[in-house]
Symmetry: C3
Subunit: 451 residues, 3 copies
């Protein structure tokens, strides 16, 4: 285990001040993409892609080459060495041992980059871990807003399309909230932002959903139930609310469109009759007069070709800016530029969960797909009642009972006694049977004799 | 759309003088392949290969590395990002936005590189578009003749093997005609040069096919109906003709052999009993005494191993020369060397065909396989009767009726009235029904009232 | 055919003194992996991998990048250009013609690298040819012993696991014997070292197998019939032998564990009930007190995770050292470092076997899978009776009859007359019928008349 290096597993690994400093560096790189080849000569990045993603890979590799470094490419690890049954942990130990100076990891399992960072002797960058995070994409999106609007705090961002299955959108929403932007959700009907995302916005960023009056957004919001996600206080909101119609959507700074993530649709999903489409017609709405149009690409029909020449469309610029921002990220992690900013002070540390009782129930979490080298981890979300998230995939740990490794008693997660367990002593149980099997005793019965 | 950069989509994009200047540069590079790494440091080429072609890819990547540049590799785009449904136009816009400084594109659809060049912010090199063109291969072949023979004009080149399905051969034939070489076709029976190739030779280069007396070629031409394709005038030819036996084949400068393109054979094709083979025995023919032997490789049985040590065999040298010529092409397109020659003056411009009526009938043309961002284009081949080629795949547009966007009348393509339509006003119709459906009126009926 | 360059096809291509000099260079490189980028700028290595092996490929590519060179990658040649039917010989001629300055070849057929070296204009490195050799892996293993123990001669190395199918182990065993190490085999029951390996050890290195008393190895050797392979003389051995129990295993310097090569198992193999596993428990044995633990990786269950933090475990260091040793190999073959040591003097030259009668019977030998450009070769192992090995795959040539190309007579391979045939005149026949078909006459009948 190595802790000297910084990694970029989650955007939360960076403080707001660090992110802004990265943006300053990226802006400098963007002035002359070919002018910074003296920063990383002799250094090597390894693209370990367990699922192919040519776009993301080329973007990172271009950034490394433009910094003067070298690139090792494993474009489809799953089809090659992974087939020999090597664990991700072992692969990372080998590649970081002497092959490469930074690892860019793409993996289908949530939490893979977190696991990799625990075993790597060099910095790890998460280039997408399942449906979990893709922090450099999110940083790129924020960087675009920062470049286009000069700031992120207080700007109005409309999110349209599939807000349910898009990993990009969820990470982006958290980041916007963290930066203090106002978010208007205008989803494709049936593909609204999931409840757990809204809950996290409320818990972590005090962001409340408010009904929005999207009349001024015109056709785009025609069939949507628009929602305002805002960090503003109720008395501030009252200034904007318009009778019973909800908070009025005013001038929009940016409209972020997403494609339907059809590959993740389930049988239960509402069949899409007509997916939202953005063309000059929709963009004629008053509130969108000078909104920049963003899209993570690839797009299909949801942004019509007639928008391509519209000066508000920045989606190709947005993609192009992926190189300077990734140059900044790589140069920072490789120690070739310094961020003139203090690092994040974590209040939400990761705690090891005792081995053998992995409390994560997400079947595609790396803690369940790669059991050989994984040590279950969790992050405490709330003390009362106890709520915790998996330290890899961030899914909530469903555990009605919580044990204490010291007393070897277990308690209902919403009991007063559970509150007294130290976070680093917690064990999570899905049922009494499971707790008993692990040789823990119920606190209640023990309580009588002083436990 | 970007027009500042030069692209290499077709060999016709270069003037003869430019091609010779490229050859001079290539010859300089070839003197010391490792001595020019100071030309392109900081620059990046992206290999976007929608179908794998390791040989071609490695040749380009070697050229870029030898120029000191960096390389991004997407060796099988079709299997990766293209599966997410991204259009070629969008991919090119993103990659040329900041990832790379030049794009090397291989694609299965004819015209793909033309389309890419319309959307790219950096130069595009066509590394093969379906069965259409592969201009760097053709330039490499010409460069070999120029190196080996000191000139191309007036030399005698024998083409053998499958002249029907080989893309390489068709491009090579046009280029040889353009340079004024004499061509002798000695095809595998049933695999003669297609009629449309001969027609283009006649129309564009005034090259006439003449029966050839291939007696002096010996066994190689035994079962072939040899044809001489020559820009010489009939009275010149009479000097060489030998009674009724046709134009005598004299001393051959180069013999170009091709493999059977079995992957393109159809059920209608003559089954090959015995494909032409070149061994020392065939090369003992008098006329071939000092002919260099060329082959685009890979070869199978059509050149026997006993030829490998023969000093006339240059097919491995030919492949090796692919690196310096591609170095010259990349350095030129990237603006690192100048061609001491005026560019081509096009008399055959591309005209946009009105959207919605794509007149190209080639089912594998990029204008039909990628409809989202394509704007139909054509090049006028003849004014009377009107004949036009698709601006992407170069296939002839079969259009008995031609409309005028100004008058909205349509005319038979071989009528005097059709002759008056300005090229940039033409619309092509396959049938009267199609024309009427597009709300065009027949000129005849209208003619009475003055249209 | 090119003989100016050195190749690394087999570890036997290097003399012991050269190997030690390579180790010295590797140790220097290892002090600062990023400090030697001035050695190979402008040079290019091509990874031609006919079967994917990401680990090996990345290791070589990292070494080349760290030397300042460029890299061409063909990660799965079989799936791409090889499908067009190009012979390995032709591919190598093209790639070595101008694309690359060194070829790193991985191939599924035994002897492929030998064939490639015959046609390459640049050095060829064997990165694994079927189940034959993987010399850079072996050099890496030896380098690790040399670094960890300061020497190889006379150290005690225990080999455990699948000693039958592991290519790594066979090459390693020969190399250990050549360096004069003592080898203790503690195989998985049913997966003992094959008889032909033991025979070669005896013939080439005078190494004799002796029963070993593995009591002090504890649980690890519990069910194994341990064997000592040692170059020591019987009278020396008697000092160590312990009654009828065999040669006592003393202090072990290194324990080399291998994974079961399940992909090579046949139906005849003993089903594995429980494969040997190494954990702290097994490593508690007295004799293993300060043995370093090695493994070629990837490992599965045969080394338990509890060993990962044990200071004796060097398997990740072992893999990391693959980069500096490959840097040394590439820099040497590219002429950028000199080995302060005389080259190997071969007593076992390769002789061409007359074309048309390939005596190799190994169906996966390159001489049988690629017949177009192969010239059968053999190496004479013994003069009486005549025993020879294929010059590509090293398999023994089973030939009861040996002919002479001068007299065109054939003789039993164990006859006195056979002894008089010059090695470069030998022809090998599997049967009398085969010899007669090749128009050779039996020596016996001819003998009467003076043959």
């Amino acid at each position: 285990m190595n802790s000297v290096h910084r990694h970029l597993v989650s955007i939360d690994d960076l403080s707001l001040a660090e992110i802004k400093s990265l943006f300053e560096h990226a802006r400098t790189f963007a002035t002359d993409l070919r002018g910074f080849a003296a920063l990383c000569p002799g250094l090597i990045s390894a693209s370990l892609f367990y699922e192919p993603s040519t776009r993301t890979r080329l973007s990172f590799e271009s950034a490394m080459l433009r910094l003067g470094g070298g690139v090792l490419t494993a474009a489809d690890m799953r089809a090659t060495s992974a087939s020999k049954g090597e664990s991700l942990a072992d692969t990372v130990r080998v590649v970081s041992g002497s092959y490469a100076d930074v690892i860019v990891l793409r993996h289908a399992s949530e939490g893979a980059a977190r696991l990799a960072s625990q075993y790597s002797a060099v910095p790890v960058v998460n280039a997408g871990d399942g449906s979990h995070e893709h922090p450099t994409q999110t940083l790129c999106d924020l960087y675009n807003l920062w470049i286009e609007r000069g700031r992120i705090e207080g700007i109005n961002v409309v999110l349209a399309g599939d807000l349910r299955y898009s990993r990009t959108i969820h990470s982006f929403v958290y980041a916007l909230a963290r930066f203090g932007a106002n978010i208007v959700c205008v989803p494709q009907p049936g593909f609204e932002l999931p409840a757990y995302v809204v809950q996290r916005l409320r818990e972590e960023f005090a962001v409340e959903p408010v009904r929005a009056d999207a009349t001024r957004l015109g056709d785009l919001a025609q069939s949507s139930d628009a929602v305002y996600l805002t960090p503003q206080k109720p008395h501030q909101l009252s200034l904007f609310t318009d009778g019973g119609k909800g908070l009025a959507v005013g001038r929009v700074d940016a409209l972020y469109m997403t494609r339907p993530q059809t590959e993740r649709f389930t049988d239960q999903d509402v069949p899409i009759q007509k997916y939202q489409q953005l063309s000059r017609r929709e963009m004629a709405a008053d509130a969108l007069r000078d909104a920049v149009v963003m899209h993570p690409l690839p797009r299909r029909e949801e942004i019509q070709p007639d928008m391509d020449e519209d000066p508000r469309s920045i989606y190709f610029k947005q993609a192009a800016r992926g190189v300077p921002i990734r140059m900044a990220i790589l140069a920072f992690l490789l120690g070739r530029i310094a961020l003139d900013a203090p690092p994040h002070e974590f209040d939400a540390r990761l705690f090891p969960a005792p081995v053998g009782v992995n409390p994560c129930r997400n079947p595609t979490c790396i803690s369940r797909t790669e059991t050989r080298h994984v040590r279950a981890l969790y992050r405490l979300a709330a003390r009362f009642p106890i709520r915790a998230h998996c330290g890899y995939c961030s899914h909530e740990i469903v555990a009605p009972l919580v044990g204490c490794t010291t007393t070897r008693h277990f308690h209902p997660h919403d009991s007063a006694s559970a509150r007294r367990i130290r976070p680093d002593h917690m064990v999570f149980f899905a049922s009494e049977a499971e707790a008993l099997a692990a040789q823990y005793e119920p606190a209640a019965r023990v309580g009588a004799t002083g436990g």
